[in-house]
């Protein structure tokens, strides 16, 4: 938005409503970076593919970070990879958001305790907006994560100045509806027959 970005400090009928319109545009057109390192990448692909179809929400993959708005860190980030991830993040133009997908990106996942080469949480390196837990998260959980991110975007200030003390980025954790339910994952009643 260039020179108009965060220039106006009054709450005005024009600025508030224009901000809302701009935010609506942003949140309906989240192009994500085609970036997947490990297991979660497959679920990311399934999320973008026919059954879950991320294109419904206007989300299409871009392979160059310059044209992406959203980076979904899908999979384990190793120490060797960490600097590359940061570079990709820096190459993305503002405004940009990050979803940390899966336990590995959140906190190291199953490699947290004994692995010498895994970065224990991508938020140690780049700012994260939404955390989606799971190993790997189901595509439904990722959709929920995107909706949470939309809520964040909806409240952003574009033309108006940020508040005197800008709101700190509070981590948003998507709760996997099936995370604690050992049976809910099974479709239908068939799997209730305990082995």
């Amino acid at each position: 938005m260039g020179i108009l970005q965060n220039r106006f400090d009054e709450e005005n009928v024009i600025f508030t409503n224009v901000d809302t319109l701009l935010n609506l545009g942003k949140e309906h057109s989240l192009w994500y970076l085609l970036f997947a390192t490990a297991c979660c990448g497959i679920e990311l692909m399934q999320w973008g593919a026919s059954k879950y179809d991320s294109d419904r929400f206007g989300m299409i993959p871009r392979s160059t970070p310059r044209q992406a708005d959203l980076m979904i860190v899908a999979g384990t980030i190793t120490l060797k990879m960490a600097s590359r991830v940061k570079r990709l993040y820096e190459q993305m133009p503002e405004p940009k958001w990050v979803i940390s997908m899966g336990s590995c990106a959140n906190a190291g996942g199953p490699f947290c305790k004994y692995s010498y080469s895994v970065l224990k949480g991508i938020d140690k390196y780049i700012p994260v907006d939404v955390y989606v837990p799971g190993c790997p998260p189901r595509p439904e959980a990722l959709i929920e994560g995107v909706f949470k991110l939309r809520e964040v975007i909806h409240e952003e200030r574009v033309l108006r100045k940020q508040g005197k003390t800008p709101k700190p980025r509070t981590p948003i954790v998507v709760e996997d509806p099936h995370a604690h339910d050992p049976f809910a994952r099974h479709s239908g009643g068939a799997k209730l027959v305990k082995a």
Binding site: A38, C39, M45, S50, S63, T78, S115, V118, P136, V193
Partner: protein
């Protein structure tokens, strides 16, 4: 004429310079975080050297800290596209060392899920290869078929990707009611879909032109470089661990081992050369049909098995094992046929609950070893084709 002009005339008129392209670790078609140092002269690749380790998660090292059962989830992550096969290879290794015999029903279930997972893995491979060639749609169609396999797995173990379904000595859960019918319906569904896929992609002229005579590996080189699985068979070497060193119940099943037939006028690849990318691709497509055949047989075997009385030893799905599993000292190398070729586990036990060393030998790692030789002199677009046709999966490479 002065000397300077003479010299200038002697020099080649067009002065070209080599360019180093860093392909990856973030690149749309390196199938993950592979990095290639590609030295190109214009479009021609002088050398493409793989630089790996961007997904090195030290899984082998973790194996030395957790006990035999706890390591099973990590084998899921070794090759997440075919976790079931990966589980199977590890379970075979430990069972051989600990001399555990697996009940028949467990073996049937294992082969069933392994073959289903082989199909879903090949779906990703052939779809991704088509995507690398510029056709995006087949990839999504492949994923669409894959969703159905995921549904089937979800029914039997509750997970979509990392299953942790096989255990040492059997499988975690028995088949739920209605599951076998579901598998049969899947076979009925996929067979014509694969024929449709063949009509659309395998027979596509552009696709064939892109893959034929590209990335040729001769049979001798394939053996020497340690290519395995479809990559080896694409080079015309008839070697399938399921057939030649049968494990589990593969010796009771009937299936063919498709091999590459490049250059054969009656074969599937008449314009090609033995061991080119198209051969490797065709071997995978044919393997899907073979897996479907196996699935049919297993379904009928499972049905017969269900007729046995409930307390029959063949109907158990798990062997009775002690809670603290101690493996007697010794070492062994066990391999199983995975979608990406044989996965071998070299297990060294020192008699404790944890292994002394676990070495995982995977197909993609050795395929990358010969990558530089194979891609020399190709074009940049061909490098992509060769990566796709080798079906490289990075966690398997880096572990």
């Amino acid at each position: 004429m002065s000397d300077a002009i003479l010299q200038a005339n002697e020099r080649p008129r067009v002065h070209t310079e080599e360019m180093v392209l860093s392909m990856g670790p973030h690149h749309p078609s390196t199938h993950g975080v592979l990095r290639l140092e590609v030295v190109t002269d214009g479009e021609v690749v002088v050398s493409a050297r793989p630089d790996i380790g961007y997904l090195h998660r030290a899984i082998e090292k973790i194996g030395e800290y957790v006990d035999y059962r706890q390591f099973m989830p990590y084998t899921d992550r070794v090759d997440y596209i075919c976790s079931m096969n990966s589980n199977h290879a590890y379970a075979l290794g430990v069972e051989k060392l600990a001399k555990i015999s697996v009940p028949l029903r467990a073996e049937l279930m294992r082969v069933m899920v392994a073959e289903l997972n082989r199909i879903s893995s090949h779906m990703i491979c052939i779809g991704a290869l088509a995507m690398d060639m510029g056709a995006y749609t087949p990839f999504l169609h492949g994923l669409c078929h894959r969703e159905l396999v995921n549904d089937i797995f979800e029914d039997v173990c509750g997970a979509r990707l990392t299953y942790n379904y096989l255990t040492i000595g059997g499988v975690s859960y028995d088949a739920p009611p209605g599951w076998i019918e579901k598998c049969e319906r899947f076979v009925e569904y996929l067979w014509p879909k694969m024929i449709e896929f063949n009509d659309l992609i395998t027979g596509n002229t552009i696709f064939q032109e892109r893959l034929c005579r590209v990335g040729v590996v001769s049979p001798e080189h394939a053996v020497n470089w340690g290519l395995v699985g479809p990559n080896l068979r694409g080079s015309g070497v008839q070697w399938d661990v399921r057939k030649n060193e049968p494990y589990s119940i593969y010796d009771r099943l009937e299936f063919d081992v498709p091999v590459g037939d490049g250059g054969d006028p009656n074969g599937s690849n008449p314009q090609g050369e033995l061991g080119d990318s198209y051969d490797r691709y065709v071997v995978r497509v044919k393997e899907v049909f073979e897996s479907l055949k196996i699935l049919k047989q297993i379904c009928s075997m499972l049905r017969e098995n269900e007729k046995l009385p409930a307390d029959h030893p063949d109907r158990l799905y798990q062997a009775k094992l002690p809670v603290r599993l101690k493996v007697p000292p010794g070492e062994c190398y066990v391999r199983s046929e995975n979608p990406r070729g044989e996965t071998g586990y070299y297990v060294i036990s020192d008699g404790t609950e944890m292994p002394l060393r676990l070495k995982i030998r995977t197909g993609s790692f050795s395929a990358l070893g010969c990558f530089e030789e194979v891609t020399r002199g190709l074009l940049i677009g061909d490098v992509i084709a060769v990566i796709g046709s080798f079906d490289i999966v990075l966690p398997e490479v880096d572990r």
